[in-house]
Symmetry: none
DNA sequence: GTACGGGTTAAGACAGGGTTAACGGATACG
DNA sequence: CGTATCCGTTAACCCTGTCTTAACCCGTAC
């Protein structure tokens, strides 16, 4: 189930969008101003978010900037009547991923929402991280030619973490992504993390993959060589 | 350096685009038909690709489909004069990530290219000061390729100081920024400053970074030669 | 000398993560 | 119909990392 957030002060338009997305099996939460949106995005896990620009309390551009400042790189679609080039560039400058001008066709909105949402958590059949291969169709995970033995929840958990890699995910976000709305009220997550770690450590010869704990935040899975690549890239790069 | 591919049969338009991207430090290879594009994409590595739809040999939609079938999930931007809704939906259906209608402003093209290229390649929000890199997304701090071991508070403290650099920050301001309203009533700040200093000094080979004490005022972190804070990230670097 | 600002260090409290085992529900199979 | 197995949740327990606190050090200014 795709889960997205709409931040829009026009209640009628918002209702229309929510309804339309619902038909397409996309669950859409709604906030009517920027502050409320910021609140929701930090508490829940969304695949992407849509932002109106003109809004009371906090406008869309500011919210977009704030979200990026906080280091969240959730895909963002700007949704506004301002169609000048400067406005668009401003939107991209603030860190948005797409820009749709009102009035727009609902079907185009749906298409763009799906694209943005699925890029990170979509229909890609194989996820590769270091020497770990996740085959989503077969629900199989292979680490250095060894097939890991993972329960359904453990597999989902690993999938979620690999998708976010190398970024850490907050506990709440992980819970939401794995269990949805009916979450266990205990330390179940800890146990499953433990199971996943045990499986990853089974092929001990792989210091390549680390499921790290970010204290006070959550967890992150990283391929060891990624960090090095980034630094190397940094030298030649960063124009 | 960003590396992208353009598949377009209109030679003049292609040349214009290549030139324009070059100015923005984006290297752009060019193929004049679908088959050639397929060839190139399989031999080289690109951060994203732009596809014209109307082309001889193999049209853009077919190429897009083919690429997806091969399991390549490189971001694709459709580039075409067909602006009807049906055409757009067809484009998204084929697996593209964005759709830009001709004629378009070059600056908008550049913005969208950068967005598509950077999202995949893990370009994220970073604070850079001298040879220190703070990755807010990963919550990691690297100094000369060594990853610093920082507790949550120590990380926040360092972040606050780096953001203020090279300006000094008063004790009260720091406390407010790190702890908010519930501040410890002891010399806790001193201790955390000490921890941060210890981590910075660990790679002693860096005389580049100094966490200075401004007596009676507070603290300031500075890069030895260049006091300037460089921000790299979602925002397009416009140097 | 002493008062003060800052630096260093260690101890203790505590939260949070890690580990393990047991229970109950579901499913498959005999 | 009963048994075995798997899986997820829960809770109890242990252990590590983190933060605060306080004591002590040093230099300098008065």
């Amino acid at each position: 189930m795709i889960n997205v957030l709409l931040v829009e002060d026009d209640i009628d338009l918002a209702a229309t969008i929510v309804d339309y997305l619902d038909i397409e099996s996309i669950n859409c939460d709604h906030a009517s101003n920027g502050l409320m949106g910021l609140e929701l995005i930090q508490r829940n896990h969304y695949q992407m978010m849509m932002l109106d620009i003109n809004m009371p309390k906090m406008d869309g551009l500011t919210l977009c900037n704030t979200v990026r400042e906080k280091g969240l790189d959730i895909p963002i679609l700007m949704l506004t009547a301002r169609d000048s080039l400067e406005n668009k560039l401003q939107g991209f400058e603030a860190g948005s991923d797409d820009y749709l001008v009102k009035p727009f066709a609902m079907r185009e909105l749906v298409a763009r929402v799906q694209v943005l949402a699925k890029r990170r958590s979509g229909e890609v059949k194989r996820l590769v991280l270091g020497d770990l291969i996740l085959d989503l169709n077969q629900r199989s995970a292979q680490l250095q030619q060894r097939t890991l033995k993972l329960s359904p929840i453990a597999f989902k958990l690993l999938e979620v973490l690999v998708r976010a890699s190398p970024q850490p995910m907050g506990r709440q976000h992980i819970m939401q992504a794995v269990w949805g709305d009916e979450q266990p009220d205990s330390n179940s997550l800890k146990v499953h993390i433990h199971h996943v770690r045990k499986q990853l450590d089974a092929s001990k010869h792989s210091p390549l993959l680390k499921l790290e704990t970010i204290s006070g935040i959550g967890f992150a899975i990283k391929a060891a060589d990624q960090g090095d690549l980034e630094i190397v890239g940094n030298k030649n790069n960063e124009n």
